[in-house]
């Protein structure tokens, strides 16, 4: 299939309204992923803490084996708190960028900022995720938040067409004129969800209004989605 470049260039109130609706859908999705993941961390912490309490109540703590079990539990809890804290930090940074969306556009940093959420989406669909970041990519002014939201929404849609256990790759690289983010996979199945027009019209509008062009290249079962800054 030939490269399908986005042609839509809506403007004025329609664009504003589409932007607002799309942005609110993406933020809703982000919050939902964040809450789900946070609740899982909290639930594991609650059970681990509870189990520690159960062990202390039920056993003589001079029992070395039980002490070892407790020690293991405390280490696991510490790890889990670390994961939860990192998730909260990432979410906080997303919020701060949303307050000031324009700025230096470091594409690798933008992807890293949404990586816990991309990983969650992949995990929910039983997919593997691989990243490959280009080195010394030139930074430019641009809509950092717009790019993060776009990556999240495109990746979410992209995963609908992938079979379980497929590896979805996220790559950044520079071209002569710009920097490109690519999402690719070599086993793209044409599921019912994936048969929807892609990317959807609102997402196209969102991309263009945020200063990015999205293209899709499909060769056999291999699909590559590219996001490029419009200069």
């Amino acid at each position: 299939m030939p490269d399908q470049k986005i042609a839509a260039q809506p403007s004025g109130n329609d664009t504003d309204s589409t932007m607002a609706v799309t942005m609110s859908l993406i933020i809703g999705r982000l919050i939902s992923l964040f809450i789900h993941e946070t609740n899982n961390h909290l639930a594991t912490l609650r059970e681990s803490g509870g189990l520690g309490d159960d062990i202390i109540s039920a056993h003589n703590l001079s029992d070395k084996e039980k002490l070892k079990e407790l020690e293991k539990l405390l280490t696991a809890m510490d790890d889990r708190i670390g994961h939860a804290a990192s998730l909260v930090r990432t979410f906080g940074e997303l919020g701060r960028h949303m307050e000031n969306p324009e700025g230096q556009l470091d594409i690798n940093k933008a992807i890293e900022g949404v990586m816990p959420f991309l990983s969650k989406i992949a995990r929910q669909k039983n997919l593997k995720i691989r990243t490959s970041y280009g080195h010394k990519l030139p930074a430019a002014d641009g809509n950092f938040t717009g790019l993060q939201c776009l990556i999240l929404a495109l990746f979410d849609n992209f995963c609908l067409g992938l079979d379980p256990l497929t590896t979805a790759s996220i790559t950044t690289d520079k071209t002569i004129s710009s920097v490109v983010v690519s999402l690719s996979a070599d086993h793209f199945a044409a599921s019912d969800d994936a048969k929807q027009p892609w990317p959807s019209k609102p997402l196209e509008t969102f991309a263009v209004a945020s200063g990015f062009a999205v293209s899709k290249l499909q060769q056999g079962g291999e699909v590559t989605i590219s996001i490029k800054r419009i200069d």
Binding site: H36, L42, A43, T44, R123
Partner: protein, 152 residues
């Protein structure tokens, strides 16, 4: 009546660390507990062993918890199912109850609350079984949730 030790519980959740820790805590409270990590494993499990109560997550890879619940109620309607989810919506809750789910809890749930719900669910399972026996003795029998009167 069965003792607590005889209540068989199956925990279904893809959060391995969470489900294994919860299993340990429920075992310390005298329940018989098994764990599986996704929907297909749960459906496979109940083909071989009948738990009294299933504690089921919703968002899991492979098969959504609602689909697992639908399948359980289709094939083994006597098994009670409690949903325990990290991010269930009102729509999920409504759907789960419509399909015959016993209760709908949110993570992180208190262990005493979960234990109480498991016991209630088990009690209801017992009562339904007793009712079915009573009907059978009176010439009415229970098949797949329908109570059918035996022809005279």
């Amino acid at each position: 009546m069965k003792k607590k030790k005889d209540i068989k519980v199956l925990l279904v959740d893809d959060e391995v660390e969470f489900v294994n820790t919860l299993a340990q805590r429920l075992k310390m409270r005298d329940l018989l507990v098994d764990t599986v990590y996704d929907g297909p494993q749960a459906l496979d499990f109940i083909r071989k062993i009948e738990p009294d109560v299933i504690v089921l997550d919703l968002k899991m890879p492979g098969l959504h918890g609602i689909e697992v619940l639908r399948e359980i109620k289709k094939t083994r309607s006597e098994i009670q199912v409690i949903i325990l989810t990290g991010h269930g919506t009102d729509k999920d809750e409504e759907e789960a109850r419509k399909l015959g789910g016993f209760d709908f809890l949110h993570k992180p749930a208190d262990i005493d609350l979960l234990l109480a719900k498991i016991k209630e669910a088990f009690q209801e399972k017992l009562e339904r079984a007793m009712t079915a026996i009573a009907f059978a003795e009176e010439g009415i029998f229970d098949t797949a949730q329908k109570i059918i009167k035996k022809e005279e």
